[in-house]
């Protein structure tokens, strides 16, 4: 009887918490003129396998500063700072990083600790997948992936921002994967918008982190309704 009551109480608390959870939304903007991106054409044309994938097509560039027409700033990782041990990564659907046309897609990705990251090779050429984390506990990997080869799966047990993934066969191929120890994060889209869903009520510090421009924080309190937090990055 006592244990049944406990289960009921926990269930009630969970439902109440889910019902009162709110979304944190916002827009990231970039002020100032970013440096021009570098055209990858000369690099890609130097490799016959990759050059063949771009016949008649526009060559890609680096994409360190992806800014929308209204100044919306993409590829900023927004998360709740200091929220740890809340990862649901083990049960979360896998995230996917694809190697297509000799470029990593997406270039910026965020996952949870323990969440599976599947790396695909959609190209008809060999790649090596070299991840280089720097936080103790996250292992460095370097695996060959043949064309049509099996997907590679990685997990990272420790939180770490911007783990570099690269292909050394095609050294312009880079991606950065941020690993967070909770499900409360988002990556800003091409318009700079982000949504962190289902945040339980409480006081938090929200952090916006861009690989080149570093991190900014704001304090935020989540109560009954959704909360809006905007960030402005500036390049000098």
């Amino acid at each position: 009887m006592k244990s049944a009551l406990s289960i009921l109480a926990i269930g009630f608390f969970g439902v109440w918490q889910a019902a009162s959870a709110a979304d944190i939304t916002g827009v990231i903007t970039l002020k100032g003129a970013p440096p021009a991106e570098t055209d990858l054409g000369s690099y890609i044309m130097g490799n016959p396998d990759c050059a063949a994938m771009y016949q008649g097509q526009k060559m890609p560039t680096t994409h360190f500063y992806v800014v929308g027409p209204d100044g919306g700033f993409a590829d900023v990782v927004v998360s709740l700072k200091g929220v740890t041990g809340k990862s649901t990564g083990a049960s979360a659907p896998p995230a996917v990083l694809d190697q297509k046309n000799c470029v990593y897609t997406p270039g910026i990705l965020a996952i949870q600790t323990g969440q599976k990251l599947i790396v695909k090779n959609s190209d008809m050429c060999v790649h090596n997948v070299h991840s280089a984390p720097t936080v103790a506990g996250n292992a460095e990997h370097n695996d060959v992936q043949m064309p049509g080869g099996a997907d590679l799966t990685y997990t990272f047990p420790k939180a770490e921002m911007f783990v570099k993934f690269e292909c050394n066969v095609h050294p312009w191929m880079k991606a950065w994967v941020s690993v967070l120890d909770s499900p409360y994060f988002s990556v800003s889209d091409k318009d700079g918008k982000f949504v962190i869903k289902n945040v339980p009520p409480g006081k938090y510090t929200i952090e916006a982190n861009h690989r080149k421009l570093g991190a900014q924080t704001q304090d935020v309190q989540v109560k009954d309704g959704d909360v809006t937090v905007n960030f402005t990055f500036e390049i000098k």
């Binding site: 570098t38 690099y43 396998d49 090596n128 570099k164 690269e166 050394n168 050294p171």
Partner: protein, 356 residues
């Protein structure tokens, strides 16, 4: 006993040693290309390559970074084979006991260097790459020294055919300069091992100044404005200071080698092989400084940076060979040449006239 007769006259052994030195030099070049193209990890397995026997890797995989890394492995195997043959040849045919052991040392060093290169890949240890680069330079000195010791020039030199002495001061001065060049190569290898590209993008200024701002704000600004493609690690104040140290040491090396060349010319006479070698050394250093500047101006273009590594290796080995050649002719050394003396490190002496 005639000294000249003690040294085996074996021109083919000498030619083989020279060939091994040339292969080693090419190997240093391809190794430089591997680092310049960030290709060191492009073939994740070793001693196999993509699971294949290294010598049977299908040609379709010889592309991009794998072309450089796999070529480096094959050339390293060639250098290993040639060094092994050289060591056996020296053991069997060279009459000098110390030369036999020098061959054994070369064999052990080439094996160690190969294992270091392999472990750098399989253990994913970046720092091993720096050690691998430095050991490679040391191995090149050793092979060049073996080529020197098996040459006709060396036999005549030891036999006293060329008669002059080098002041102890000048010898120590050149040795110190050579050690400084070795330190400079370690600095360069450490810079390349950071995989962060150019820590300072301009030359002769540094971020427009004589000494760059290395505050956290300034470094954050530098990183924000870099749009790097290959070497994407963010730069740090340490890397900026490292490159400044590399520039300062380069200037010091230039001054010291210029002084060494001038002293060699003045003291030993223009016809002396040591004076000629010192002049060649100075020429190399001038080229090396120009290549260093070009490396910066080209935003660390892979071929230019690699050429900079190669001329650095030649500069080091030239200084080392000068020291080796002059070793037995130091003032006060127990040498076989007719006695002539030069007093003082840099002072004048009557013997200078005899040297000329």
């Amino acid at each position: 006993m005639n000294v000249k007769a003690q040294i085996t006259n074996n021109p083919w052994l000498h030619r083989f040693a020279v060939l091994t030195a040339i292969i080693t030099f090419l190997l240093l070049g391809v190794g430089g290309l591997v680092t310049s193209h960030e290709a060191g990890m492009s073939v994740p397995d070793w001693p196999t390559s993509y699971g294949y026997n290294m010598f049977a890797l299908p040609i379709k995989f010889w592309k991009g970074g794998a072309l450089f890394e796999h070529s480096h492995r094959l050339l390293a195997s060639g250098a290993g084979f040639f060094t092994t043959v050289l060591a056996v040849w020296l053991w069997l045919k060279d009459s000098r006991k110390w030369m036999k052991w020098l061959g054994v040392t070369a064999f052990l060093l080439v094996v160690a260097q190969g294992v270091l290169g392999g472990l750098r890949v399989t253990l994913k240890m970046n720092n091993l790459g720096v050690i691998h680069g430095v050991v490679g330079q040391s191995f090149f000195i050793l092979i060049c020294a073996i080529a020197l010791f098996t040459s006709r020039f060396w036999r005549e030199w030891v036999a006293g055919g060329k008669t002059f002495l080098v002041s102890r001061g000048l010898w120590v001065f050149v040795l110190a300069t050579t050690i400084l060049i070795f330190c400079q190569l370690i600095l360069g290898a450490t810079m390349r091992g950071q995989h962060a590209g150019l820590a300072i993008p301009d030359f002769p200024t540094a971020y427009g100044k004589l000494w760059p701002d290395t505050s956290a704000d300034a470094v954050a600004r530098y990183n924000a404005n870099r749009v790097e493609v290959i070497s994407t690690n963010p730069i740090t104040p340490f890397q900026i200071i490292l490159q400044m140290a590399h520039r300062i040491v380069a200037l010091a090396v230039f001054i010291l080698v210029a002084v060494a060349a001038w002293l060699s010319w003045k003291r030993l006479g223009g016809k002396s092989p040591l004076a000629k070698l010192a002049a060649f050394w100075l020429g190399l250093i001038v080229c090396q400084i120009a290549l260093g500047a070009w490396t910066v101006w080209s935003n660390k273009a892979a071929d230019v940076a690699t050429l900079h590594v190669l001329v650095g290796a030649l500069s080091l080995v030239t200084g080392a060979l000068w020291c080796i050649i002059a070793f037995g002719r130091r003032e006060g050394a127990a040498n076989l040449a007719p006695a002539k003396t030069i007093s003082g490190a840099f002072g004048t002496s009557p013997a200078m006239a005899a040297n000329k």
